[in-house]
Symmetry: C2
Subunit: 190 residues, 2 copies
DNA sequence: CACAGGCTACCTAGTGGTAGGTTGATTTTG
DNA sequence: CAAAATCAACCTACCACTAGGTAGCCTGTG
């Protein structure tokens, strides 16, 4: 992957994370990069190609970041804390949303390959969370794992959406704190 | 408000709730209603006017629906259950999102009056939830009320987003069930 | 030379929005 | 009461602009 293509993706991600898929254009993007829109097409033949590449790279980086900031000795609580903090950082650095959270809202008007990548993002998140919860001393059934992972994911995605709209990124910390009073960290076999 | 304007708003809401603000056009809308796009402008001078009207009506109807389905004898748990059920119904009836949840994702590229209405939707929801929680035998500080209300709102908004993307509307029921194992219903003074 | 990586110039299809005209019902007035 | 004026609600036809995308040319470098 040439550095120009990465540069294009970087700017595209910035635009997409504040305006969504439908509301950024090849012209805007090209202007940011300092080239012409036709040249963007050289690297990404169609907008769907670019969108799918963005979502895929985002997912990989997101999961990789998560894996790099945990220690084997961390408690489930600490890890989920860091998971939430990842969302907070993403939001607070110039008010940008989670790329795939934003794309998810547009899923009905997304080209199919892009929508598929967004689904994969959520799946990857749920699987990652399930793995974390599986290490927990509290044994859970497969259904409970799924439910707990879904709970955590949806909570932060929602907090991000609401927090950004209300200009209150600290909403993420608010719900993170409330998550403490949950049986996520103390759930029994069920 | 003439019935034609309402008819336009009905169709616009349908389109907006599946495609978002940026991805529905006056022409699509006019075609659905069976008139020309110029005639839509007669009722709503600009798209921003229409968008704001949609969000406002949606908020009023949403809150009104909530108020109409609770009884004075209901427990907090039952009410929150119904609150979640309102989201589930909205999602499951032809897979449409909460209008304002969708608009929230696009907030950066929304005309200011529309964005303001979306904020008002979230505020109205939080205030409604706070009122419900205030009636609860468990006394809470103002901060705790705000936190609990935010928690519930963000949870369902997130569940809606993720649930629709994954074609799993029952995700809303999953998190509703998990909400049970939360101190929302048992929280003490803090 | 070949070719990667850009460019100019263009296309079609669509966008929100405007100007001005037509219709038919309602209201005002001689 | 009938003619005249007004009005809501739509229309056709168009505007300027932007979208994603394409064709073909240029230029520097291995």
């Amino acid at each position: 992957m040439s550095s120009k293509a990465e540069q294009i993706m970087d700017e595209a991600e910035n635009l997409a994370r504040s305006h969504g898929y439908n509301a950024f254009s090849f012209r805007d993007l090209a202007a940011k990069v300092g080239i012409k829109s036709a040249s963007v097409h050289y690297h990404f033949p169609t907008k769907a190609d670019l969108g799918a590449a963005l979502a895929k790279r985002y997912t990989e980086r997101f999961i990789s970041t998560l894996n790099h900031c945990i220690e084997p000795t961390d408690t489930t609580f600490e890890i989920v804390q860091r998971y939430g903090e990842a969302y907070y950082q993403a939001l607070v650095q110039d008010g940008r949303m989670c790329l795939c959270g934003l794309f998810a809202a547009e899923v009905d008007s997304l080209p199919e390959p892009v929508a598929a990548e967004v689904q994969r993002f959520f799946e990857a998140n749920i699987n990652w969370l399930k793995d974390i919860l599986r290490r927990d001393p509290h044994v859970r059934s497969e259904e409970a794992l799924e439910a707990d992972a879904t709970f955590i994911l949806t909570l932060f995605q929602g907090a991000m959406l609401v927090g950004r709209t209300m200009n209150q990124p600290e909403a993420i910390h608010t719900v993170m704190e409330k998550l403490r009073g949950t049986d996520i960290y103390t759930s029994r076999v069920n």
